[in-house]
């Protein structure tokens, strides 16, 4: 590495011949012209002559030509170590790669300028192409000196830079064609964790509305690839509500309460063979259900915040509390294993996700599982979300222990000897939603403290004095009913 600058000065010294200086001047001139392209032909969302687009649409075809050659290039150079003929070929391949690259960029600019596309990904893709061509020109200029043995590391370094630029630019191009999540959507879950997910702007204010739950997902799946932050065809973006209402180059696309007059709806309901049919370019059309949903939404005023709209059925909101993740118990695994062996009771994972917690299962040793046994599990208490203590030998004394099971969601005490003395101690369990006291001696009076537990929604009192006492008073019947 230290030698590199020295080598570079050697390289510069060897370039003092006139032709090479002229070559460098040429490279800088081309680079300057290339850098000016975005300024001379601004992508401002306005489409231009059709013939530009016609030719420009060959860009996605031609683009594979320089890609293939550039991938071939390092292979030839490396193989050239043993077979000099291949190294000679590499020089030629580099030349036609540069030519193909020039052609590709011209077509690409034609496509972008002609169709009037805008967006950050388009801009990045264009700059990528320009930088790539400049890097390749440097390669082309440096290579003769490298082949002659005058410089050593400059050419491989620049070539490597060119290949990296190529990869990045190609990825931008792929994102333009297939959508930005195309590459990683089906990546296996465990790998996905290592990829930071870009948090894009969103209509956070409208969470839960009909728009966010039904309309936005349709746009997201079918439209945003071309009408989004990364690519703004016709100046239209459908990823944010404000921009949707603002419309595109042809004006507003949504006319509230007037579905037939809404450009958006007109475009998606044209005949698929129509030039203006959306989604364009053979992408998946909207389904009749999706279209009728959008129609109903526009008819109702295209509100971003309305929570219910006639004609649109929302899947029932999950009313259950979201599962509170328990801490990491992996360091306890060996202790847990020992405990299971010595007590016979089991700690079973709720699911493959450790943070879903553990279930304390006593069914195989129920008759001998008493207060002391339960107390032994206290050290795992924060990780236990469900305690199956039905028909065990525990008594009211266990409520002290149970009050430490801070993540407990469900507690089975049916068929035990408890009377309910000390149920008040459970009031510290803020996640408890299910409590089964069936076939115990629990009385109505003992239940009073449970009223202060808002999350406790399922209480079962089958075959208890509490149930019998309330059989004729409507009040507790209602309590029982509310348990469902």
């Amino acid at each position: 590495m230290i030698a590199a600058p020295q080598r570079l000065t050697v390289a510069v010294r060897t370039l003092r011949t006139g032709t090479r200086v002229r070559q460098w001047i040429f490279v800088f001139a081309v680079a300057a012209v290339l850098a000016l392209i975005p300024l001379l032909l601004p992508l401002n969302g306005k489409p231009h002559a059709d013939w530009l687009q016609f030719l420009g649409r060959f860009h996605p075809l031609i683009v594979h030509l320089p890609i293939g050659m550039l991938v071939l290039l390092p292979i030839l150079e490396i193989a050239g170590v043993t077979k000099p003929a291949l190294r000679e070929a590499a020089g030629f391949v580099l030349q036609i790669a540069v030519a193909a690259c020039v052609l590709t960029i011209i077509l690409g600019v034609m496509l972008a300028y002609g169709s009037g596309v805008t967006g950050s990904t388009v801009t990045r893709h264009m700059w990528g192409g320009i930088v790539l061509l400049i890097t390749l020109l440097i390669c082309l200029t440096v290579r003769p000196a490298w082949a002659a043995g005058e410089v050593h590391r400059v050419y491989p370094a620049v070539l490597a830079a060119a290949l990296l630029t190529l990869t990045w630019t190609a990825h931008q191009g792929g994102s333009l064609t297939f959508g930005s999540d195309y590459l990683l959507r089906y990546m296996p879950g465990p790998l996905k964790r290592f990829i930071p997910t870009a948090s894009s702007a969103s209509d956070a204010a409208y969470v839960g509305s009909v728009y966010m739950r039904t309309i936005h997902p349709i746009f997201d799946a079918k439209c945003v690839a071309c009408h989004g932050a990364s690519k703004e065809q016709a100046g239209l973006r459908l990823d944010l509500y404000e921009l949707l209402i603002k419309g595109g180059n042809d004006g507003a696309v949504v006319a509230p309460r007037n579905p037939e007059g809404s450009l958006l709806l007109q475009r998606v309901t044209l005949s698929p063979s129509d030039k203006h049919f959306m989604p364009a370019e053979g992408r998946t059309p909207l389904t009749p259900d999706e279209i009728s949903t959008i129609r109903a939404w526009i008819l109702a005023g295209a509100s971003p915040s309305a929570k219910s709209i006639a004609g649109i059925s929302l899947a029932a909101q999950n009313t259950d509390l979201p599962l509170e993740p328990v801490g990491d118990y992996s360091s306890f695994m060996s202790e847990i294993r020992q405990m299971q062996q010595s007590s016979g009771a089991k700690l079973v994972a709720v699911s493959a996700k450790p943070s879903d917690g553990l279930i304390l299962r006593t069914i195989d040793v129920a008759s001998s599982f008493d207060d002391a046994q339960l107390a032994r599990f206290q050290r795992f208490a924060p990780f236990i979300v469900e305690a199956e203590l039905a028909r065990t030998a525990i008594t009211d004394a266990s409520f002290d222990t149970l009050s430490k099971f801070t993540h407990l969601r469900a507690l089975h005490l049916e068929g035990t000897a408890i009377t309910g003395q000390g149920l008040a101690k459970l009031s510290s369990l803020s996640h408890l939603t299910y409590l089964n006291l069936s076939e115990t001696k629990v009385t109505t009076g003992a239940l009073a403290p449970l009223k202060s537990m808002p999350s406790l929604r399922h209480i079962y009192l089958f075959n208890t004095p509490a149930e019998k006492a309330s059989a004729d008073t409507k009040d507790t019947n209602a309590t029982l009913r509310s348990t469902q």
Partner: protein, 515 residues
């Protein structure tokens, strides 16, 4: 053996040198096919085989390690299941073998009354192929249901008068009017809904669950099948152990069938003179011999046999306790009705299913035969409903009042439905109905499904689906979902395929059914 046409001498079979090929090729063949080359090549093949063996094992070991942590805590298979926190821990499947007629029970079609004995429009049936039993029929007269329907519950769901008890719990049910299947005959259809495939050899739902989720208790099987005593007056289609077979999974995961008589398991008691200690010693010795066999032969079925012997030993004490109903309170008998006192009836089996749910049995399947009403539907349906209606109602209600319905999924289904047109003669007093795979009604209740809804719509003839069809594969995918399993990720490698309950055609979890 058939000889090659060019081969006239079996002692000296033809070689490439005898073939009509260019002589240059023959020379090349002769040059390369030397002993040295043969030995050299064999050596390489062996080397590669050894390498594959080494690397293969490394690959497998890393696989096993990944799944270790969940297994360590649960003592189950290293499968990383459930995939997500389940709503239901266990399931009880009430299987109505034969195909209950949906339009006589749940799928209310008031418009049909006016069309009594009219021909069903050809457009409804389309080009559907019928069974051999009605394909030859000259006409297809519409047979409206013989029984009136009424609205029940807060949801105002229409239920036939045949099901007075089911009507009482209608608000707890998730009714699917648009279940449909591929097969039109009993055997393929019942195999398809149970195992996901019309051909035998695949594991059934219960075996998949036993394999994937494992046991919740040590003393009872994970998957139990209860058969209801047959009523000889009914048209009973056979059900067989194929339906609770573990297919290509280990036999440990097959359903354990309890007899429908007074003695659910024969020879449970130790014979006179054999006490528990002697029995234990015998089993220990047998296990030693079995382990020896396993070491010698390496057949996993030997493992299954060891496990089954141990389970049988424990069942000697757990089954009598399970089937001893003497401690059931009077409220149980009030709920399940007098039938439940008789072993082998549907109501008795429902009561057993509730007791198994309490004792940690993962999956119970109750088979009730006799729904195949090709003729005399009017005579037989009241009998069938009387036998099953109260038991199903009692089971769901009992689970609910005991707080078990929150994490138990109850499923009620047959293998298909029945036709709206009459098979054989139609009169005001009687009709028959043929098999109908295009739509039939099923229901679920409990953990994971949304109570009080009716899913899907059928046409005016209860013949075709108009909206929201649920294929039996989707039905099974939804059941697995309620139990915390992603049906697409729950696979078992067999015959070179990642086999699953819902393969080979893509199936979907029916979101509209979920709570």
């Amino acid at each position: 053996m058939k000889q090659h046409p060019r081969c006239t001498d079996c002692e000296n079979p033809i070689t490439p040198l005898d073939l009509p090929i260019p002589s240059t090729l023959k020379r090349e063949w002769a040059a390369i096919e030397t002993r040295r080359r043969f030995l050299g090549r064999s050596g390489k093949v062996l080397g590669w085989a050894a390498l594959a063996g080494l690397f293969g094992e490394i690959g497998l070991r890393s696989y096993a390690k990944a799944a270790d942590i969940t297994a360590a805590s649960s003592g189950q298979n290293n499968l990383g299941l459930p995939n997500f926190a389940p709503k239901a821990k266990r399931a009880i499947y009430l299987f109505m073998s034969g195909g209950p007629p949906q339009m006589d029970l749940f799928d209310y079609k008031p418009n049909l009354a006016a069309q009594f004995d009219k021909d069903m429009p050809d457009s409804v049936r389309g080009n559907q192929q019928l069974t051999g039993m009605t394909a030859g029929q000259a006409r297809f007269p519409i047979a409206p249901s013989h029984w009136p329907f009424a609205q029940h519950g807060e949801t105002g769901t229409w239920v036939s008068d045949l099901l007075p008890y089911t009507a009482r719990m209608i608000d707890d049910l998730t009714i699917i009017k648009t279940t449909h299947t591929d097969a039109i005959n009993h055997e393929p259809a019942i195999m398809l809904i149970n195992t996901g495939n019309m051909n035998a050899g695949k594991p059934c739902l219960g075996s998949w669950l036993a394999y994937g989720l494992g046991s919740m208790n040590d003393n009872l099987p994970t998957f139990i099948v209860l058969q209801t005593k047959t009523n000889p007056k009914e048209n009973n289609q056979p059900v067989s152990s194929r339906l609770w077979s573990s297919g290509f999974l280990s036999s440990e995961y097959a359903g354990v069938g309890l007899r429908s008589g007074a003695d659910p398991v024969l020879y449970l008691d130790d014979p006179p003179g054999v006490d528990r200690e002697v029995r234990r010693q015998m089993l220990d010795t047998v296990e030693k011999i079995n382990r020896q066999t396993l070491a010698e032969v390496g057949d996993p079925e030997t493992n299954a046999r060891i496990a089954q012997y141990e389970m049988a030993f424990r069942m000697q004490s757990s089954v009598p306790e399970l089937t001893d109903l003497s401690k059931e309170p009077q409220s149980t008998w009030d709920l399940y009705g007098p039938d439940a006192k008789q072993p082998g009836t549907f109501a008795y089996n429902c009561l057993l299913a509730r007791r198994m749910a309490e004792r940690g049995v993962r999956f119970t399947q109750i088979y009730k035969r006799g729904w195949d009403v090709h003729d005399n539907a009017v005579g037989m349906l009241p009998v069938l409903c009387q036998e099953t209606d109260r038991g199903a109602y009692a089971l769901v209600t009992d689970l609910k009042r005991r707080g078990l319905l929150d994490d138990t999924l109850v499923i009620w289904a047959g293998e298909f439905g029945r036709t709206v047109y009459s098979q054989g003669g139609l009169s005001h007093e009687n009709y028959g109905r043929d098999h109908h795979p295009r739509c039939f009604t099923t229901w679920m209740a409990g953990g994971g499904v949304r109570p009080g809804i009716t899913h899907g719509e059928t046409d005016d003839y209860s013949y075709n689906i108009i909206k929201d069809g649920v294929h039996v594969r989707d039905f099974n995918a939804t059941i697995l979902h309620c139990l915390g399993i992603d049906h697409n990720r729950f696979t078992y490698k067999f015959q070179g395929l990642d086999q699953k309950l819902t393969s080979p055609v893509t199936a979907y979890v029916v979101q509209g059914l979920l709570a």
